[in-house]
Each structure stands twice: as C-alpha cells, then as structure tokens.
Amino acid sequence: MSNPYAKLPNWAEYGLIPLVNLIVAFFVAGLVVLLVGENPLEAAYHLVNGAFGRGEYIGFTLYYATTFIFTGLAVAVAFHAGLFNIGGEGQAYIGGIGVALACLYFDQTLPWFVVFPIALVGSIAFGAAWAFLPGWLQAKRGSHIVITTIMFNFIASSLMVYLLTRVLKPLGSMAPQTRTFAEGGQLPKLDWLLGIFGLNIGNAPFNVSFLLALVAAFGVWVLIWRTKLGYEMRVMGHSPGAARYAGISESRITIIAMMISGGLAGMMALNPIMGEQFRMQLDFVQGAGFVGIAVALMGRSHPFGIIPASILFGMLYQGGAEIAFEMPTISRDMIVIIQGLVILFAGALENMFRPAITAALAGFAGRRAAVTQSKGA
C-alpha cells in the first residue's frame, strides 16, 4: 500500500486539483484583506481589472508572464533530471551580461533582428556558464546543488554590483546601469498581436521575446519528451537506480541539465533589458528566478502548464500593482502574501485536497454505477 491515492482522471489531476488549490489560496488571501479592514471583493475586482481590464494592462501582464515562462522552464528542466535549481535568479542576472554586451557592441551598427540572436546566444552562454559551476560541483564533488545555487545567487549579485558600478557604467554617470541602447538594442513591441484583438497596448513593454518564450516552451517539450537526452534526464529524475542500471552517466546528465536550465534562465534577461529598459540596471531580475520555482511547481514542470501558470503570476504582479495603487491601505507586500499563498497551496500543500477529491469522485462513480445497475435490474 505504498500509494494509497488512486490515480485520478487527467482532467481532475491537471484541472480540478490546481483549480481548487487556487480558489482556496484566493479565499485565504481574501480573509487577509478582510483583516486589514478592506473589502476583498473590491480587491479582487482591482486585481482582475488591473491585469486584464485594458489592452495596456494585458500587455503588462504578458510582459511579466514572458519573464516567468523563461525562469519557470529553467526550473522545470532541472527538475525533470531530479535537480532543484534554486539559482535561476543568479543565472538570469549573469545572463544579462551576455545581452548587455551584445547590445553595447552592436546596437549602433546592426538592426535589432541581428542583435537579438547575438544577444540570445550571449544570454544562454552566460546563464549556462553560471549554472555549469554548481552542476560540476555536484557531479564531481558532491556539493549539493540547492546549497551551491543559493550561494551563486549571492555571488552573482555582488559581481553585478561590481560590474555595473565600475565596468559597464558610462563615464560620468551616477546610476549603476549601462548606457541606454540605440535602436539596434531595442526589441519591437507586439502591439500588432494585441491589435488583432482590437486592443491598444499603450505603454506596455510587451515585446517579441514573448514569442521566443513560446518557442522555448515548445523546445523544452521536445527536449524532455522527444529526445534521447530528455529521456535520460527523466530516467535520472525519476529513478537514479534505473539510470545507473541503464548506463546513464549521472555526472554528465547533471552538468548538461544544469547548463540547459541556466541557459533558459539567462534568456529571461532579454525581456527586461532589450524589451523594456533598453539598458541593464542593477537588480533587473527582481525575484523572477524565484517566481520561476512557483511557476514550475504550479505548472507541474510541464511547458504547457508553465505558460498558464506564468500568465497567472503575471496577473498577480500587474493586478497587484493596481490594487496597491487603488487601495492605499493594501501595500505591495500584500501582493507578496497572495503570491505566497498561491505557492503554498499550489505547491507545498498540493496533496491537501487530493484525498477528499478522490473520495468524492469515487463516491460519484460508485453512485453512478449503482444507478445504472438498478436501472438494468
């Protein structure tokens, strides 16, 4: 009786359970809003309206979602190989160097569609390199990847402070950031995409890296379920014993999976640097690496689950800002609480409602069987 939970049908496993978890998370969040003396329904209205009420809001929501798709995929890829990469934050941060260098070198001479692929390669290379070290340390030295990636986040942070205050900062500037890129370092917005639906994007920085994120999600699906490397990663992730049995090199897979994960995290840097700020600033990642963990958990590490989960978190970010703006007693920290509750219920307490739902479904199926039986008799 190692697994007392019977298998649920797919619609319940991937639809009903996440939905119930989400509803409970929002319900508890509503209680917190009540506690600070505000109307939860009003907050909910501002959350949804702030995220989807206007074309511009939708643009912002999808801009945030783009970032989270990259970091969510990064966590998911490592997770399929049984590795918990907490270092998405640092890998994305370092990935920014690749983007910034490409833009600083070529923005005045080349058009964006040439600079973009160069920056892409740069972001992947830098992100992957930053993930290579923890991967190598785990594979060859047995240092636990959770510990090393956390430490590498701090190292990345210090390194970037150094680079942005000493090396990449233009002479005479007081701000810890690179110079603003010329047109070659600026990604075009996807105003036409929202335009199809008759929406006006306004000032939202929704840009072509969203399309890249979708391509990356499909690429990750192919990698995990349709290539030999993905097969080997999944064998190792599910059963290290079976991997050893099959002759799959644990150290090789650890290092490769971490580098792919780091590369994906690095790609995240394209979105804020080339798509919004047009320069690299201090702390441009803003915790997206950690949100990626929640996104991957919620999306069940499946690319096609990560996209809606990213949009959900994009909504929380954008709509949350709107709540803070419209309801002054609710600060931005409140939004962090709501996000935390979503993570808690969708991730950590994933199985809390499973027995009840399983029993309810079984009872329903049993009653239906009884009804058909009595009809037959």
């Binding site: 009786m1 697994n3 007392p4 939970y5 019977a6 298998k7 649920l8 192919v222 349709r226 290539t227 030999k228 097969y231 080997e232 999944r234 064998v235 599910h238 059963s239 014993g241 079976a242 050893r244 049995y245 099959a246 002759g247 799959i248 399983t358 029993a359 479904l361 079984a362 199926a365």
Partner: protein
C-alpha cells in the same frame, strides 16, 4: 466467552477507485494457527492492516473474543490483545533488545523501574515460550531470525493473545524458519492464536490448522488444512489450474561465456560483501546462486552488471576481459551481450512513472533504431513495445499505460521481455519471481528454461530455494560473501540449508 478469537463480518475497504477488500468474512478459532494466503495484491496486507488499526474499514465489524471492537489505531488493537510481527521489522537498530521491547510501553518518564520490571517479565516470557534472547544485545548485532523473535516478544510483552505474522519466513534460512514454526506451535499450545500471512503454500500445509484464501480483494474459501492440498490452494489463489512443477530437459553446456576469478566487492561502508568469488558460466546452462538475502548475492549481480565497482578480481565476458575494477559502463556490457534482470524492478529495472513503451527501451535507448535524427522515434518504440506485449502476454496490452499501473507479474514481464528479446549471450537474473503472482511465475520459469535451451548462459539469484532447485543445473551457495559450496539440484533441502546457514558440510570441513 466465545470459541472464536477473531471474527470479521463484511469488511469492506476501498482506496479511491481500488476496491482492496470486498465484503470479507473470516472466523479464526481460538488457539489455532490460521493461514491467510493469496497472491500479491489480493488484499491480505490491507485486511491485516485494518485488523491492526493502520487503516479503517469503510464498512464491517471486527469482533474480538466475542465482543465487537472499534480499532481506530494500533493502540486500540494492542488493547484488544492483537499483536503484529511485520514483514520489515519495526525495531530500533541501535537499541538493545530490552529497550526495543519496552519502547512505547514505558510506565513513567523515569525508566529505571520500568527497565527492571521489563527484565523480569522478559525472563518469564522467554522461559514460557522458549524464546531465548540476550536482553542487552543490540538489535543490529543480532541475526534476522533473532530479531524476529524480539518482534514476537514485543507483541507478547504487550499481552497479545492474537499474533499476526506477515510473511515471516521471507528473510529466514530454512533452519530459522523451522525454529520459528516450533515457536508458533509452542504459542498455540499456550493458547495463543496465530494468524499467518504468506504466499508460500508449503508453510501453510506444514503448520496451519485452517487456511483462508484471498483473491482480488475477496475471501474465496476457507479450508481445514488437513483436508486440502497444495494443488487445490494454488488453484483457489489463481482462479485456474496451475502447473507447479517446471518441466525441463537435460542441459547441454557449451563454451564458457562468463568467468569470474577472485572477485571482491565492498559496499559503501567498506564492508566486504563479495569475497573472492570465482565461477564459470557456460552457454546453455542455468547456474543458481542460493543464499539467505544479504549474503552478497545482490552485490555480486551488480558487480557483474557493471553497476558496482569491484575492489579486485577479474571478469571475462565471451572470452574478453571486462574492467570490473575500473570504469563502469552497463551500456557497454549490454552491447557485448550481457542482459540483466535486476532484483529490484521498482527502483532499478523500471521507471514506474514512465509509459510501458519507454521502459521497454531502458538501457537500450542508445540504439539508433529508436531514433529519427535528433528525435526519438516514438512510433517505432511503441510498435516494438506492442510486439513484446503480445509475445509476453503483458496485460493490459497498452504500451502507453504508466508502468506503475501494471501488476507485479506484468511489470516483471516487461523487464524480461526487454532483456530476453535482444538475443543476449549471458543473462543474469535476480529474484525473477519476487512479488509475482503464481500464474506469471509459471510463464517466467518456462521462458528462463527456453533461454537456456537456446544456448544462453543464465545466472540466477533467488532467495526462494524451491525456485533455485527447480530451475538450476548447478547450485552455488553463498554465505557471508563467499561461495561456500557447489551442489547439484537434487541435493536435499537440509543439505543446502546448512550451507546457507554457513555450516560447511563434512567434506569441506576436512579440507
């Protein structure tokens, strides 16, 4: 007062959509040894877990000694006089026997008085039931047979009148098992009731008074042991007639395929698990390795399969040397004609969360025929899986089903199909029928003998001595990492049992 120790009425239990126990009725007479048999997944363990308070029944009544009782947890079971000896012992390894027996039954925060009281009580139980153990020995230093005795004492110390034993002989040598049966007979003589859960028909025949058979969550029959036969019980368990004897002709051994010389393997703690083992395995023969679990057989298999590095020694496969002490590569060994059915299909031989077809290529996934450019050729993989499913009668016949949803026997067939269908020169098999239902055992044994007849060299490791004797052409006995003797399969069980217990025969002793 009733002459029934336990009566179960209409016990019903579902786990989600799985109906594990279906309207079970059972009567166990006081002072009897009552056997419960059934295949894996028949619901025996669930039923006993309900009786011992691990699970709650959805419906039904439990009546102990004539009184209906509600068993909500194990404390309630103990209060009702029910004790359980688990298949995997629930003992604290670095505690002494006495401490283990007291654990959970201490009378106060200060242990001194409890300890002396327990010591006196333990002495009394020992003499009453002939269960000698040293109360101050540490559990980890005791052999498993004695550890099991401590489990029994634990139950008796809690004043159990009804003892449930779950697969008690799985880890014992034949001699230890005999000793256990004498203890059980003694308990019965003292008026205790014993419920014995097992899948070994011979044990049932040897010591029980009555036997109940479970199949697919239902109690299908209860018989007086003296009025039934092994054949009838097997048929009741499986639901159809089964062939218990394996038919096989003479072996025709050919060239040596696998040869080991002085192979020594240590485990992670540096303890020598395999000690200078040498053996030769010829084409067209089955060599069985007998031994009580934990005497180095597992490590030997792993070393041969390239999963565990040997400390010293040499190995040749098809006449060519294999670096057993160097870089390990199970994939390379596979290419050279070695197939391996591992002992632990759940954690090694299969990835339970994978689709059946994905497991059907595990270890052979480098083969270009499964690839289509950089991508896996999923269609080819599934088509091949379907062929194997048909040939090995794997049920349900769906290559896209999650492997965890197959029964133990069908999971084992998935592994066997994968390893046997590649035309290996050497096949090494660990526990081919562990946790496999009787119907599938028959099939698996036949396939192993077919492989031999096709000229494959087969090395077989099993803790089921009957299986070793039925299949092998030669038997090597391992004890404490060493091969302590070689016998023909017609050697008596007693003789093999002595070797397995480390008592060398007179001939060896003279050397």
């Amino acid at each position: 007062m009733s002459d029934l120790a336990i009566e179960l009425r209409g016990i019903d239990k579902s786990f989600g959509l799985v109906h594990a126990n279906r309207d079970i009725n059972l009567k166990v007479r006081k002072g009897s040894i009552h056997g419960i048999i059934g295949e894996n997944g028949a619901g025996k363990s669930t039923l006993m877990s309900i009786l011992y308070g691990f699970y709650q029944a959805d419906r039904g009544e439990i009546i102990v000694d004539g009184k209906p009782v509600a068993i909500r947890d194990t404390n309630a079971a103990i209060a009702a006089g029910i004790g359980m000896v688990h298949q995997h012992f629930m003992l604290v390894e670095n505690f002494s026997v006495l401490e283990n027996i007291m654990l959970g039954a201490e009378e106060s925060q200060i242990l001194n008085s409890s300890i002396s009281k327990a010591r006196i009580e333990l002495k009394r139980l020992e003499s009453e039931y002939g269960l000698e153990v040293d109360p101050d020995a540490l559990i980890e230093e005791l052999p498993v047979g004695i550890q099991q005795r401590v489990e029994i004492l634990k139950a008796l110390y809690r004043k159990a009148d009804i003892l449930i034993l779950d697969e008690p002989t799985g880890v014992l040598t034949p001699a230890e098992a005999d000793h256990l049966f004498r203890i059980l007979a003694q308990l019965k003589a003292e008026g205790k009731t014993v419920l014995l859960i097992t899948h070994k028909l011979r044990e049932i025949m040897a010591i029980t008074d009555e036997v109940s058979v479970m199949r697919r969550g239902e109690m299908v029959a209860t018989r007086q042991t003296s009025q039934t036969s092994v054949e009838e019980l097997a048929e009741l368990m499986v639901g159809r007639r089964v062939l218990l004897r394996v038919e096989k002709g003479e072996a025709k051994p050919g060239a040596t395929r696998l040869s080991l010389r002085n192979l020594t393997v240590k485990d992670g703690r540096g303890v020598t698990m395999v000690d200078t083992v040498s053996l030769d395995l010829k084409a067209g023969e089955i060599v069985g390795i007998a031994g009580v679990a934990g005497n180095g057989q597992s490590e030997l298999l792993e070393a041969i399969a390239g999963m565990r590095r040997a400390v010293s020694g040499t190995m040749t496969l098809n006449g060519k040397p294999v670096e057993v002490t160097g870089t390990l590569d199970p994939a390379e060994l596979r290419r050279r004609g070695l197939a391996h059915v591992p002992e632990d299909r759940h954690h090694v031989g299969l990835v339970l969360k994978f689709e059946e077809s994905e497991n059907a290529i595990l270890g052979y996934h480098n083969n270009p025929k499964y690839r289509n450019g950089v991508l896996l050729n999923v269609d080819a993989i599934r088509a091949e899986a379907e062929e194997k499913i048909a040939r090995y009668d794997i049920r349900p016949p769906n290559p896209r089903l999650k492997t965890a949803n197959f029964s133990g026997g069908n999971q084992q067939k998935i592994v066997l199909a994968r390893e046997m269908e590649r035309g290996p020169d050497v096949l090494i098999i660990g526990q081919p029928t562990r946790g496999v239902d009787v119907g599938a055992i028959e099939f698996i044994h036949k396939r192993i003998i077919e492989m031999r007849d096709q000229g494959v060299a087969v090395l077989l490791v099993s803790v089921e001595l009957d299986e070793i004797r039925a299949l092998s052409d030669r038997i090597l006995v391992m004890f404490a990492g060493r091969v302590v003797g070689e016998r023909l399969p017609d050697a008596s069980e007693g003789e093999l049992g002595l070797l397995m217990a480390g008592v060398e025969g007179p001939k060896e002793a003279a050397e």
